[in-house]
Each structure stands twice: as structure tokens, then as C-alpha cells.
């Protein structure tokens, strides 16, 4: 009796030890999938399939141009990945860098937004109709980096839908996907037309994305994007200044002045608003008003003191003419 009882006790102990050891092990292997199981993000439907996302099969090593091409084409840019190779591919690395994936859509008047590293944010964007470009490590031994586009998911079957490599519709389980996605720090991005705002955008991160769009040089797109941002965050000072500067660049001086006046009511002390409004009014020929604003901006300790001084000199020299 005693000899029989002993092994069963030890077997049970071993089984429990295995359970105790493996449970947190599993959870830490796919921490975010485990969270989704108990805490599905609110307001997100359980099944989405963005079937309209186009599919471009990749050429050897060129998953970057293919993935960003799919996202850009879906956002309305008429583009083929072959044309993007020169923009986003690094020959000696046989691949594409994340920063360049973000920079490429900007040259075509689209906003690139890098997502926060959260599964819930990925699902939320897909649910909002924004396919997500993701970086995966799909190596068996060692790292093999790969870009793909998530265009849907199904909670009931636990499946993520991807356009990936040569597969028009790849299906991966939530856990398998998280394993590949986790290695690259949950890197994901969306490409949006300038009037749209990402579903998971925060004011600060979105305005950072718009600074990038502005560098792309498409003034019309930048104006549109800043206008949308200002509508969403009416108190945002960077959005107002960005909008006014690009309206000014486009030659719409009156509109720029209106935006800056509204911003000035909300931020009466802002040296940047005072300086830019003064410059804009002076460009409209209203030099006296400009000088009055510059008097208000005249603060020696301001980091923009030299810019304000330069604006004053410009206005004064215009008045002498």
C-alpha cells in the first residue's frame, strides 16, 4: 500500500509543479494574447476582414516595398511596389528599415503613424478600416525579419488574417502571430489619407506624425492633415501653428491669420503665435498691427528672442520703403 501511494503522490506533485511552472511560462510567451482572452478591448467588433486591401506578391527579399505598397494603395495612392524599391529598400541589408517604412508614404502625401506596441491597438486600427503593416521575426533558428499587412482577424477562431509574402490570405493563430510580432517590439504602422486620424492616435504622437508628413513636402496634404488635427484637438497649439504655417506657404495669408488669431485667444502669451501672426500680418501689408504684436512678444528670456528681433527688423525695413 505504502509503496503504491508514494509514486502517485510524487506523480501528482510533479504534475502540479509542471502546471505551476508552465502556466506563467505560457503567459509570458504570449502575454498580450493572454490578456485579450480575459479583457477584449471595448467597442471593437469580434470579426473584421478588410477584403479590399490589395495584394502585391513580394519579390525576393522585398517584403518591405510590397507591404508598404499594399497599405499605400489601400489609402488611395496609385503605386506599385516595384516603384517603391528605390525609396524603401537598402541593397546591402537586403531589406527595409522601419524608419524608412515610415518615411515613404509621406513622399506621397500620406500620413504614417506608428502604433503603440499593443495588440489591442492593432485590432482597433483594423476594426477602424486601417490595415496595419507589421514587422515579424519568422525565423526558425536565428532571426528572419519580415513585413506583412494585417487586414483582419476573427476572435471566435482566434485567427489573424495577413497579406504576406506570396500568400494573399495567410491565417495565423493569435498566439503564433504574437510570437513573431513580439520579437520586433510589437512594431506596427498605419498609412492614412491626410484628412483621417488613426483610431488609436494620441495628440502628441499624431502631431509628431504630421511633422513627418510636412517634411514630405506635399503642402496641400499637410494643410488638410493639420486642419483635421485641429478639429479633433481644438486646443492644440502645435496643430494651429502647423496649419497656419502651411496655409501661409500655400499663399492663403488671410486664412493663416484667422487660425493664428484663434490660437492667440487661447494662448495669449505664446511668443511663437505672436511672432508668426506678426509676420503674416506684415506680409498682408498691415505693418503697424504687426509691430504691436511684436511688442507683446518682446521678452529677453524667451528662446525665440532672436527670431522675434529678426521679424521686427524685417517689418521695420518694409515700413521704411
Amino acid at each position: 500500500m505504502r509503496t503504491n501511494a508514494m509514486p502517485s503522490f510524487w506523480t501528482r506533485l510533479l504534475a502540479w509543479a509542471a502546471v505551476v511552472l508552465l502556466l506563467p511560462g505560457c503567459a509570458s510567451l504570449v502575454p498580450q494574447t493572454m490578456d485579450l482572452r480575459t479583457d477584449w478591448p471595448g467597442g471593437v467588433p469580434q470579426q473584421v476582414d478588410l477584403a479590399q486591401v490589395p495584394f502585391f506578391a513580394q519579390r525576393a527579399y522585398q517584403c518591405g516595398p510590397a507591404a508598404i505598397g499594399m497599405a499605400m494603395a489601400y489609402s488611395g495612392v496609385a503605386v506599385h511596389p516595384d516603384a517603391l524599391v528605390d525609396e524603401v529598400w537598402v541593397p546591402s541589408r537586403h531589406g527595409s528599415l522601419q524608419v524608412e517604412m515610415l518615411a515613404t508614404p509621406r513622399r506621397h502625401g500620406r500620413v504614417s503613424y506608428r502604433l503603440a506596441p499593443r495588440y489591442a491597438d492593432l485590432l482597433r486600427e483594423v476594426a477602424a478600416g486601417h490595415p496595419v503593416v507589421v514587422l515579424q521575426d519568422i525565423g526558425f533558428i536565428g532571426s528572419t525579419w519580415h513585413y506583412a499587412v494585417v487586414n483582419g482577424y476573427d476572435y471566435a477562431t482566434g485567427t489573424i488574417l495577413l497579406r504576406s509574402g506570396l500568400q494573399k490570405q495567410q491565417r495565423m493563430s493569435f498566439t503564433a502571430f504574437e510570437r513573431t510580432w513580439l520579437q520586433g517590439g510589437y512594431w506596427g504602422m498605419v498609412v492614412l489619407p491626410p484628412g483621417r486620424i488613426a483610431a488609436t492616435a494620441t495628440e502628441e504622437r499624431w502631431l509628431e506624425a504630421l511633422l513627418g508628413l510636412a517634411r514630405g513636402g506635399d503642402v496641400e496634404a499637410t494643410v488638410q492633415a493639420y486642419a483635421a488635427a485641429l478639429q479633433r484637438w481644438p486646443d492644440s497649439l502645435p496643430a494651429a501653428i502647423g496649419l497656419a504655417n502651411h496655409l501661409h506657404l500655400r499663399g492663403a495669408l488671410d486664412e493663416a491669420a484667422t487660425v493664428l488669431r484663434t490660437a492667440l485667444q487661447k494662448n495669449p502669451q505664446s511668443v511663437i503665435v505672436l511672432n508668426n501672426l506678426a509676420q503674416t500680418l506684415s506680409d498682408l501689408g498691415r505693418h503697424a498691427e504687426a509691430l504691436a504684436l511684436l511688442d507683446r512678444a518682446d521678452r529677453a528670456q524667451s528662446p525665440f528672442a532672436s527670431e522675434v528681433r529678426a521679424t521686427r527688423q524685417r517689418v521695420e525695413s518694409r515700413m521704411k520703403r
Partner: protein
């Protein structure tokens, strides 16, 4: 002393050339990128460092096989923050790149698993 002056002049010239080619400010207007309080004010030093970073990254891209003009255009559309990130690890950042052979391996291993583990 003369040498020092010459060298400094050279550096200033190099920096100003780079500034001209990469800096895209509007006359008289302060940019939206200057608003965030966390960022350093647009002093000249930060500007020069920024442009040097850009030139460096463009040169690195060029060394990695990218056409020189394309390299400059590519760097021009990155934010300052992104340029800094890239300057630090252009060699080590993961670059997505699955080759045809990679796919062959995926398919072979996948079918082996299917054959032995599932089909039996």
C-alpha cells in the same frame, strides 16, 4: 592659430552647406516642431548637429548601396528624431527581408510538420 581659424572656417562652411541642403524652414515663421516644451529650442547648435546627422545617415545609406540622390531624398522626409534613431543603428536595426529561399524553407518545414505530426 591660422590653422585653427582655417579649420573652423571649413567646418562652418561644411555645416552651412549641409544646412542649406537639408533645412526647410520658412522665412520669418517659427515651425510647429518648436512648440513642444520637451524639445530643445531651435538654437544653432542643435540645428547643425541635426543636419550633420542627416548628412551622416544619407552617407550611410549611400554606402549601403542606395543611389546618392535617392539617399538624400529619403533622409529629407524623416523627422529629427527618426534621423537620430537611424544614425545610431542603421547597421543593426532589423530589416524586413524574407528571401525566396526563406519561403522554400517555410514551406518545406511546414509540410514536414504536417506530414509527421498531423497526418501520421
Amino acid at each position: 592659430m591660422k590653422l585653427v581659424v582655417k579649420r573652423t572656417t571649413c567646418r562652418v562652411l561644411v555645416a552651412s552647406l549641409l544646412t542649406l541642403s537639408f533645412h526647410t524652414a520658412q522665412a520669418g515663421l517659427i515651425g510647429a516642431d518648436q512648440v513642444a516644451p520637451a524639445r530643445s529650442p531651435g538654437n544653432d547648435r542643435a540645428l547643425v548637429l541635426g543636419t550633420l546627422d542627416r548628412a551622416e545617415v544619407a552617407a550611410q545609406l549611400q554606402a549601403a548601396g542606395v543611389d546618392p540622390r535617392a539617399a538624400r531624398e529619403r533622409v529629407a522626409t524623416m523627422t529629427d528624431q527618426e534621423v537620430q534613431v537611424l544614425a545610431q543603428d542603421i547597421e543593426n536595426a532589423p530589416a524586413g527581408a524574407l528571401s525566396g529561399w526563406g519561403w522554400a524553407a517555410v514551406i518545406v518545414v511546414g509540410s514536414l510538420i504536417w506530414y509527421y505530426a498531423i497526418r501520421k
